[in-house]
């Protein structure tokens, strides 16, 4: 049995902080940086830098298949990255030709919501059908994607707006994965990354870049850096990608800043919890 003086050490107090107090601080860390200009400076991680450099180093007019698995569940983490990457693709100096596809049935709907929520910087000279094309959802997961790699027109006889495939000038010389120069996937679902590696990289040698949600990043690490030269991890990666593009003051930056405060609070609490737990265990054992 421990004495009362032992029960009131700093470690005991730390371990008995009420949950409600932690939740209130957490809420403040979330809301205050959204409303009051306060910033935690953050650096750009090597994978994000590599992601940015890989896109900018593509030859002039390269074809990029931009696949987005946007669903309501991952919207908070993936939408910011989707917007940031789309801005990069549209504004890259190498005039990339971008093809949008969606492996999830909710994707097209969520893409419209994302476009309304986040700022998409579409240059005036970018023309639909010539510089970028939006296809819809492809069904069938790996089987569907394998067919898309072999013959795009079979899966998409028309684009999202029902324009026939043959009427899209950009698609005149893009028929299969053999014509893609890069594949980018934004996802929170590991299986999509795996089958894209098997089909696009394995069968056609198409280089890939992944933008996983935080929870998926451990599953794409095995593909970094030999298959995916870099990666953008969720909301924090999106904020870093924005800073590399010189974009500031957007919703992505605001949320990225708030996210930094939340992560900092969680980090401090985790460290305090580990140290306190260790000290209490040590006291019990001695």
């Amino acid at each position: 049995m421990t004495s009362s003086s032992e029960e009131n050490t700093i470690w005991d107090k730390l371990m008995s902080i009420p949950d409600n107090a932690i939740q209130v601080v957490f809420l403040l860390c979330m809301i205050v940086p959204l409303l009051v200009p306060m910033t935690i400076p953050y650096g750009v991680t090597p994978p994000t830098k590599a992601f940015y450099d890989t896109i900018n180093a593509l030859p002039e007019g390269s074809v990029v298949l931009y696949s987005m698995q946007l669903i309501p569940f991952n919207y908070g983490d993936c939408a910011a990255a989707t917007a940031s990457i789309f801005n990069l693709l549209l504004n890259a100096p190498n005039n990339l030709r971008v093809i949008l596809v969606f492996p999830a049935s909710d994707g097209p709907l969520m893409f419209d919501i994302m476009s309304a929520d986040y700022e998409i910087l579409m240059p005036e000279w970018r023309k639909y059908g010539e510089d970028w094309v939006r296809f819809g959802y492809y069904a069938g997961m790996e089987q569907g994607f394998a067919t898309l790699c072999d013959d795009m027109k079979t899966i998409f006889p028309s684009d999202y707006f029902d324009n026939p495939f043959d009427d899209l000038p950009m698609m005149s010389d893009i028929k299969s994965a053999a014509d893609w120069d890069l594949l980018i996937e934004v996802t929170s679902y590991t299986a999509i990354v795996d089958y894209e590696v098997r089909q696009a990289y394995g069968r056609y040698g198409v280089p890939c870049l992944f933008a996983p949600a935080g929870m998926t990043v451990m599953s794409i690490i095995p593909y970094y850096p030999h298959i995916s030269k870099g990666f953008v991890m969720g909301l924090s990666g999106a904020a870093q990608l924005n800073s590399l593009q010189g974009i500031s003051g957007t919703l992505v930056d605001l949320m990225g800043n708030s996210f930094s405060f939340m992560t900092l609070e969680a980090f401090i609490l985790a460290i305090l919890g580990i140290v306190s737990g260790y000290m209490l265990r040590h006291r019990r054992s001695t």
Binding site: Y75, D77, A80, S105, S158, Q199, G202, R203, M218, P222
Partner: protein, 203 residues
């Protein structure tokens, strides 16, 4: 503000608060919302899949590509699973799903996943000394973790030490995985809270 606009703002806010209320207690409002989410989700899935089927199957079939009748028939076969007497018919549909899936997967698995992973794991020497150090650490983690899964010999001596190290590395990996999962939840709640905050404040 018109009534419709007011409702457009406040109905999602009320629904969101109802969803978050589940953290504190389970109540009828949350359960109703749960059913609503599942129902609307199913509706979206049916609608988008129907559109995909129409675009890639039915429309070309009407256009004269009669060969597409076969996958449509095998697709319909899957629904016989719901009729007990004709359950066996569904197997003809699943046959294509499973065999086709296996065939498609095996095609790219060697070139896409197995060989590049093995080559990458064996690459220790890098262009810089930092890369070489990273390669060395990766190789040690790879080998020690593998030894943890050797069950044909008792984990004693060198094998025991290696297996213990492997277990530690796996624990670090799982911890990292869990922390990234928490980060996703942070981002999800943050996105909704910022949306609600800006809606309420009218920013």
């Amino acid at each position: 503000m018109a009534f419709v606009e007011l409702m457009e703002s406040w109905i999602p806010i009320i629904l969101m608060i109802t969803a978050i209320s589940f953290i504190f207690y389970d109540w009828v409002g949350w359960r109703w919302l749960e059913h609503w989410i599942i129902g609307t989700g199913a509706g979206v899935i049916v609608a988008t899949n129907w559109r995909a089927l129409y675009r890639t199957g039915i429309n070309p079939l009407i256009g004269g590509d009669m060969l597409l009748i076969l996958p449509i028939i095998f697709g319909i076969c899957l629904y016989f699973r719901f009729i007990p007497e004709y359950r066996w018919v569904a197997r003809y549909g699943f046959l294509w799903v499973i065999a086709g899936g296996a065939g498609v997967t095996i095609g790219g698995i060697m070139q896409g996943q197995i060989l590049p992973q093995i080559i990458q794991s064996a690459k220790i020497i890098g262009p810089t000394s930092w890369d070489t150090f990273n390669g060395l650490v990766s190789a040690i983690i790879f080998l020690t973790t593998l030894t943890y899964f050797i069950f044909t010999k008792p984990h004693k001596g060198v094998l025991g030490t290696s297996a213990r190290a492997g277990r530690l590395f796996m624990m670090v990996g799982f911890g990292l995985g869990f922390s990234t999962l928490i980060q996703t939840y942070f981002a999800v709640i943050l996105e909704r809270v910022q949306w609600m905050t800006f809606k309420i404040l009218g920013i």
